[in-house]
């Protein structure tokens, strides 16, 4: 394991690994949920947490160059005084690194309108698998040739290590409004999500929390969530004042027409912050319910949300498991959360069976395996559910073009010919 402090030291570490034919794995804070940064066998682990400087901020062009170990939230804090922010905001944003975000192509609630990490990364100085440093992408609009930056983002460390990253910053919107919609039935909340999109509104964020998680969060942080709701929607709109006002009114009307019991608009910044604190503390709150959890991540077409959710709860009932849902409803990104006590004999197999069935349900509905957590080890062997052998062959050849020796984080993302017995199903000790 090594802790480089510069691009040169990352390159030196990778060169040593390459010279000895030893695999290497890049790792930020280790918050990933798919096991992408978990070293297998005797891989060299290149930990980027010492590289945590914001190197340069250009407030006119709204670009920041950062080292990979900068924490996501620290970046937004560093540019706050300029009226700028970095849009992708994973729930782990207090702990996860920008380098890790690049690796997984991370998302977050505010990616609904502005896109996930790939839409915000302009350039990466990548240490490739042979130790050479290559600038992928650039700070101008277009780079000649293939979009190597686009390939690299989300490659989960299998194409090299991001040593310096240029990100796009967004101007803070003049007006932000956050609504909490309270529903007596989950289907009504899901129908409201579709209704909002159908009304021509793409909110900045559109999050759903079901009954169990809403209660857990309210007991945990006291954010003012209705403890008796079957589901709540947290909706945020931003922009210029009249458009925001019109959208708030439209969302209020859509929610009420779908049976919302109440719609509350945060009166001030403090109330708004509290509502978001509730959402972002969801995974801390569940520790009060059961000692263990398995968080899933899959995306379905938005119009299939109601059907898929219903089936997800059925699966939980069939497997006698407690299931909660707190997720990015606006883009169809589900996060079914199974809470359990691992000391209970036989529970793991039911947790895994439920997870597999959820994934099958999402794929059957036209969905994909992951919206923001990545494939890593967790879903590597599920890739054939959505890709043909030819599709996977294309991806394997692409990876080999970046890393002919196969030393960059091997055995992640793409399945081997056969399922490997040594791989754990759920990475342990991970942060949400």
């Amino acid at each position: 394991m090594c802790f480089p402090r510069s691009t040169e030291e990352v390159a030196a570490a990778v060169r040593v690994a390459a010279d000895h034919g030893v695999p290497f794995v890049a790792r930020g804070s280790g918050t990933g949920l798919a096991g992408g940064a978990t070293p297998l066998d005797d891989a060299v682990v290149v930990v980027t947490t010492q590289m945590n400087r914001v190197l340069e901020v250009d407030p006119v062009e709204r670009i920041a160059w950062v080292e990979p170990g900068v924490l996501n939230l620290d970046l937004s804090r560093a540019v706050q005084h300029l009226g700028l922010h970095y849009a992708p905001d994973p729930s782990s944003q207090q702990a996860c690194t920008i380098g890790g975000n690049v690796g997984t192509n991370a998302g977050g609630p505010h990616c609904l309108a502005s896109g996930v990490t790939s839409a915000h990364v302009l350039a990466v100085d990548a240490v490739l698998a042979d130790g050479e440093v290559a600038r992928l992408g650039g700070t101008g609009p277009d780079v000649p040739g293939y979009d190597l930056r686009g390939c690299f983002v989300g490659s989960e460390g299998t194409m090299g290590i991001a040593a310096r990253i240029a990100v796009r910053l967004l101007p803070d919107p003049p007006v932000v409004r956050t609504l909490l919609c309270d529903f007596g039935a989950l289907d009504d909340a899901a129908a409201t999500v579709s209704g909002i999109i159908a009304a021509g509104i793409v909110p900045a964020a559109l999050e759903m929390m079901d009954a169990e998680i809403t209660r857990a969060v309210e007991d945990f942080v006291g954010a003012g969530y209705p403890r008796d709701a079957a589901a709540v929607l947290l909706v945020e709109v931003d922009g210029l004042p009249d458009g925001v006002a019109a959208q708030v009114a439209a969302i209020d009307a859509v929610a009420r027409s779908h049976g919302a019991r109440s719609v509350r608009v945060a009166a001030d910044e403090a109330e708004r912050a509290l509502l978001w604190k509730g959402r972002k503390s969801a995974f801390g709150a569940i520790a009060r319910i059961a000692p263990d959890y398995y968080l899933h991540d899959a995306v379905v077409p938005r119009t299939k949300l109601v059907d898929v959710l219903r089936r997800v709860y059925e699966i939980a009932a069939e497997q006698r498991l407690t299931m909660m849902n707190v997720f990015h409803a606006g883009d169809g990104n589900l996060h079914p959360l199974i809470v359990f006590d691992a000391r209970e004999p036989g529970v793991w197999s039911r947790v895994h069976d439920a997870g597999d069935e959820i994934l099958r349900t999402c794929v059957a509905a036209g969905g994909v395996l992951s919206g923001e957590h990545g494939i890593g080890m967790e879903k590597r062997d599920a890739m054939p559910m959505i890709f043909t052998p030819d599709d996977l062959d294309l991806q394997a050849r692409l990876r080999d073009a970046f890393d002919p020796q196969g030393l960059a984080n091997p055995d992640k993302v793409l399945p081997r010919g056969s399922r490997c017995g040594e791989v754990r199903r759920a990475p342990e000790g991970t942060w949400v």
């Binding site: 006119v60 609009p141 277009d142 040739g145 979009d147 999109i197 793409v202 993302v413």
Partner: protein, 348 residues
């Protein structure tokens, strides 16, 4: 009926199969759209021309995504989306351009400032590889990190990695109000004062701004900017020799002035860094390229005989390996992308 994930739509399956059979046996394959951007990059090679089928294959406005055959024109797509109050800003200045052609040439269009680059629109791609296999990259949902981003790799690849046959694009609501206004100030000044304008296009005599959004907001922005002069979309620079310059956005105003000083027709995208330039002669466009290089940028030839790129591709060896991995015999659009070293400048 819907398109099943993993395969091309039934409506185009036969056409794609025929295209794939042609690709598999042809020694050289040249994907053709509407030839509206035919001279972008390297010279068109001689070879077997193939055309992707056309047609909107699946569109559910509630999903805010649309799946089309790659030969569909951007005009047709815009009409279909417009009928549902939506848009997908593929803003080729020629509505006859095909979706596949716009993607392959990487044309982001003037509203990139607001709606982002083209590469952010493409969710799923089906392409025919050099050996005739039809493969899929990406996925149809608006959010997806399952596997490598093959879809993004295709944007701007100039048909050199395979033939695009079917794509899924992200759409968005059409703005309620949209108006062009004219100001006598540089782009940088407009960008400082406006909140997320759709486009800020600057020429030697002033700046034309496109305001989009709710009617009241657009009116308020217009008043705040003092942009009382109604305008139309500015004319695209035309001429037999055309190019698209990429520079850091901060250099756009200066570059526009410098290029105008050379007597060239020019239009810069403020806040984006793209500068469109047209010249009466190849030497004129070459001079524009020299100006672009001096500003740390580069010029992509879009029309005329000037060399396509004028620079060695960055990370050329890696790009060549990617090309080799997908198209080992080099049959897909050879010469469009200079994957071998090129001389700097000069007329091809």
């Amino acid at each position: 009926m819907g398109v099943s994930a993993g395969t091309v739509a039934p409506a185009v399956a036969d056409a794609v199969a025929a295209l794939a059979a042609t690709v598999a046996t042809a020694p050289t394959v040249v994907p053709v759209g509407s030839r509206t951007h035919w001279e972008v990059g390297g010279p068109a090679p001689a070879g077997v021309e193939v055309r992707a089928p056309s047609g909107v294959l699946e569109y559910d406005p509630a999903e805010l995504t649309v799946t089309v055959a790659a030969g569909t024109t951007v005009g047709e797509l815009d009409a279909v989306l417009g009928a549902a109050g939506q848009q997908c800003p593929l803003d080729s200045h020629d509505p006859a351009a095909t979706v596949g052609g716009v993607l392959a040439t990487g044309l982001s269009g003037p509203r990139r400032l607001r709606y982002g680059p083209l590469r952010n629109r493409l969710l799923e791609v089906h392409l025919v590889l050099a050996d005739g296999r039809t493969v899929k990259g990406g996925g149809r949902t608006v959010k997806n990190v399952s596997g490598y981003d093959v879809a993004r790799l295709m944007v701007g690849s100039l048909g050199t990695l395979g033939v695009l046959v079917q794509v899924t694009l992200r759409c968005e609501p059409r703005p309620a109000a949209s108006e062009w206004r004219r100001l006598g100030v540089p782009a940088a000044e407009v960008l400082r004062r406006a909140f997320r304008p759709a486009a800020v296009l600057t020429d030697p005599t002033g700046t034309t701004v496109l305001l989009e959004g709710f009617a009241e907001d657009v009116a308020a922005e217009r008043d705040r900017l003092g942009a009382s002069t109604v305008a139309t979309a500015p004319a695209w620079p035309t001429g037999p020799h055309r190019g698209r310059i990429s520079v850091r956005p901060a250099h756009v105003d200066r570059l526009v002035a410098d290029l105008a000083g050379l007597g060239l027709a020019v239009l810069g995208e403020g806040g984006v860094g793209t500068v469109h330039v047209a010249a009466p002669t190849a030497d004129g466009l070459d001079a524009a390229r020299t100006v672009a290089h001096a500003a740390g940028g580069w010029l992509l030839r879009e029309a005329g005989p000037l060399d396509g790129f004028g620079i060695d591709l960055p990370n050329r060896a890696l790009m060549a390996r990617i090309k080799d991995a997908l198209d080992p015999t080099g049959k897909c659009n050879p010469g469009r992308l200079p994957l071998a070293p090129v001389a700097v400048g000069g007329v091809a």
